[in-house]
């Protein structure tokens, strides 16, 4: 088990465990988001997903997202853990936990985090479905240079 705030891992991940990474006496609210592998996509029956990453850059961009959040909301902590490798239907692929003194900023920041993950973090999923497999592609627009 790790206490790192930004992590790419091949091991199963837990909302409770990631939330504990941002706990402190100043915290009055933790909002967590969990992304789950869905069994259907675009009319296809999904068998499982294979996630690939550029691990060194992924952890850099997760830290960048936390910096963006800290510039906009008065949060006490942000942790983001993304799992990679083969994930079965119903397993958790990504967890965001945002800790704050009060709830409002934490809700907004958690939403921002998962939206940004889908825009800039170098992780890709290959969907293996009944009858084939396909790489899922994300946004049209590349991120601004950073």
């Amino acid at each position: 088990m790790s206490d790192r705030l930004f992590e790419i891992t091949a091991a199963p991940i837990s909302v409770d465990e990631v939330s504990r990474r941002v706990s402190s006496p100043a915290v009055g609210a933790v909002v967590s988001f969990a992304g789950i592998v869905r069994g259907t996509n675009a009319g296809r029956q999904v068998r499982y997903l294979e996630y690939e990453t550029y691990p060194e850059m992924a952890e850099t961009t997760l830290a960048q997202i936390a910096e963006e959040i800290e510039a906009r909301w008065p949060v006490e902590g942000v942790a983001i853990v993304h799992r990679v490798g083969r994930l079965e239907i119903g397993e958790t692929s990504v967890i965001v936990a945002v800790a704050s003194g009060h709830r409002q900023g934490a809700f907004e920041a958690a939403r921002y985090a998962i939206d940004r993950i889908k825009e800039i973090v170098p992780v890709w999923k290959k969907e293996c479905f009944e009858g084939g497999e396909i790489w899922i592609e994300g946004p049209e627009k590349p991120p601004d240079p950073h």
């Binding site: 992304g35 996630y51 690939e52 990453t53 550029y54 060194e56 850059m57 992924a58 850099t60 993304h82 692929s93 990504v94 998962i114 993950i117 889908k118 825009e119 800039i120 973090v121 170098p122 992780v123 890709w124 999923k125 290959k126 790489w135 899922i136 592609e137 994300g138 946004p139 049209e140 590349p142 991120p143 601004d144 240079p145 950073h146």
Partner: protein
């Protein structure tokens, strides 16, 4: 100067390799490297408008000047979450 290019996901599969070394004159830009790669790697041009570029693990512009030893990465639009 020289460095490496890493490929990921569908682009890695299409190139049939996960990395390739590059060598260019001093002062070359990212754009010059991309042009060089298109000339030397058959099939890469099909990916031109669906390829994102990072240098040393940060998103980079085509105008950026490369340095000796830079790690460049080419990959398709991200799809995590």
């Amino acid at each position: 100067m020289r460095g490496t290019v890493r490929f990921f996901a569908s682009l890695r599969e299409a190139m049939g390799r996960s990395e390739v070394d590059w060598e260019l004159p001093d002062g070359a830009t990212v754009e010059a490297l991309v042009t060089h790669l298109h000339q030397t790697l058959p099939g890469l041009s099909e990916w031109a408008d669906r390829t994102w570029i990072a240098v040393n693990r940060r998103y980079a512009s085509l105008e950026m000047t490369l340095q000796d030893g830079d790690e460049v990465a080419l990959f398709p639009p991200v799809s995590g979450g």
